[in-house]
């Protein structure tokens, strides 16, 4: 009886197992994400968004660090164009992940591709690639969705809860939550010399240009940092492409 059912639905059970193991594999990461999601919610109401607008930002844009950066800029009085440009620059890294995941989705349905794109987050990529290296494609996708879905739920809930903290009296600690979160995100990036020098130059230029209008200092800092890091890593990258 059980065998007959398995024949009718080949691999259905293994996909469910894969979905669950993806969700479980993500759990330790969620502990680290919860406070950051709360900061994203807090940054919303702290910088003039309503609770509803903050929730909509988390729900539709689901943009992590870019969300926090955008809200921080709005609080500093930046214009819409600058805010949007900054958020998208920070999320340009998604292109790399999109290319990394594309083979896994090569025979997936359109619905799965759209959902898989919307749910894409940094942390799910290395997890899926390392844990499911030998798996069938449909199980890889199930694992990926399991990991992404628990992440998505955590993000939405914690940022919603955090949005009620933004209206606290403007104590220094509340205002400091955003920069400290960026610092915690920055630290693991400083793993090699190109990125270390990119960060130093970006920081120095941004401080020097802080008085410039329209958040130009942050933009200039970012581009100067990227240029510095690229200059340091250019030859090594070229050798990689030649080999």
């Amino acid at each position: 009886m059980t065998e007959a059912r398995q024949d009718a639905d080949p691999g259905g059970g293994s996909s469910r197992r894969a979905l669950r193991s993806g969700a479980i594999a993500m759990l330790p990461i969620l502990i680290g994400i919860a406070p950051f999601a709360a900061v994203a919610g807090l940054a919303g109401t702290h910088n003039g968004f309503t609770v509803l607008e903050t929730a909509a930002f988390s729900l539709f844009a689901y943009a992590g660090a870019a969300q926090v950066a955008a809200l921080d800029l709005i609080g500093n009085g930046a214009g819409a164009g600058v805010v949007i440009a900054t958020a998208l620059i920070i999320n340009v890294r998604f292109i790399v992940y999109s290319a990394t995941l594309a083979p896994m989705f090569s025979d997936a349905s359109l619905k799965q591709r759209v959902a898989g794109s919307y749910l894409l987050v940094d942390h799910a990529i290395p997890l899926t690639l390392t844990r499911t290296a030998e798996w069938a494609r449909r199980d890889k996708i199930a694992f990926y969705f399991g990991a992404c879905l628990v992440f998505w739920c955590t993000w939405q809930i914690c940022s919603f809860v955090g949005s009620f903290l933004g209206s606290l009296p403007n104590t220094g600690v509340v205002a400091f939550a955003v920069p400290i979160s960026f610092l915690a995100l920055l630290a693991p990036q400083l793993a090699d010399r190109p990125r270390l020098f990119a960060a130093i130059v970006a920081g120095v230029v941004a401080v020097a240009g802080a008085d410039l209008p329209a958040n130009l200092g942050m933009m200039l800092g970012t581009f100067a940092g990227i240029a510095t890091g690229v200059a340091f890593g250019w030859r090594a990258a070229g050798e990689k492409s030649a080999s």
């Binding site: 680290g32 994400i33 900061v39 607008e53 930002f57 539709f60 844009a61 689901y62 943009a63 870019a66 709005i74 819409a80 949007i84 958020a87 998208l88 890294r93 998604f94 292109i95 790399v96 992940y97 999109s98 290319a99 990394t100 090569s106 591709r113 794109s117 919307y118 894409l120 220094g172 600690v173 400091f176 939550a177 920069p179 400290i180 960026f182 610092l183 915690a184 995100l185 920055l186 630290a187 693991p188 990036q189 190109p194 990119a198 960060a199 130093i200 970006a202 920081g203 230029v205 941004a206 802080a210 942050m218 800092g221 970012t222 940092g225 890091g229 690229v230 890593g233 990258a237 492409s241």
Partner: protein, 106 residues
């Protein structure tokens, strides 16, 4: 900021972010192997952008450069905690607690 502008920003970041995530997953004809030098440029973006966002908040107090302040010291603690334990939550919490304490003392 007007309500319309708020929703414009939400829509633009949502659509732009979706396009960035979906481009290779939805359009299977595109070549998947990015040239190493293009991925080098993309790799630099988070480090540069986060540093440019955080540096003014740490080092400027009312527009004046401050190398030793509650903000820079708490930032240094958060960085060290992150290097040592590689844990986002721990790093955020330690940085905030340190800032709260230093702000009272200094």
């Amino acid at each position: 900021m007007s309500t319309a502008t708020v929703w414009l920003i939400i829509a633009a970041v949502a659509i732009g972010g979706f396009v960035l995530r979906a481009v290779f997953i939805l359009v299977p004809i595109l070549p998947r192997n990015l040239p190493p030098r293009l991925s080098l440029v993309l790799q630099m973006v988070p480090a540069a952008a986060f540093a440019a966002l955080v540096a003014p908040a740490l080092f400027l107090e009312d527009g004046r450069l401050q190398l030793i302040s509650p903000a820079t010291l708490a930032g240094a603690i958060a960085l060290l905690v992150s290097f040592r334990w590689k844990n986002l939550a721990l790093s955020i919490v330690c940085g905030l607690v340190a800032y709260g304490c230093l702000d009272l003392v200094l």
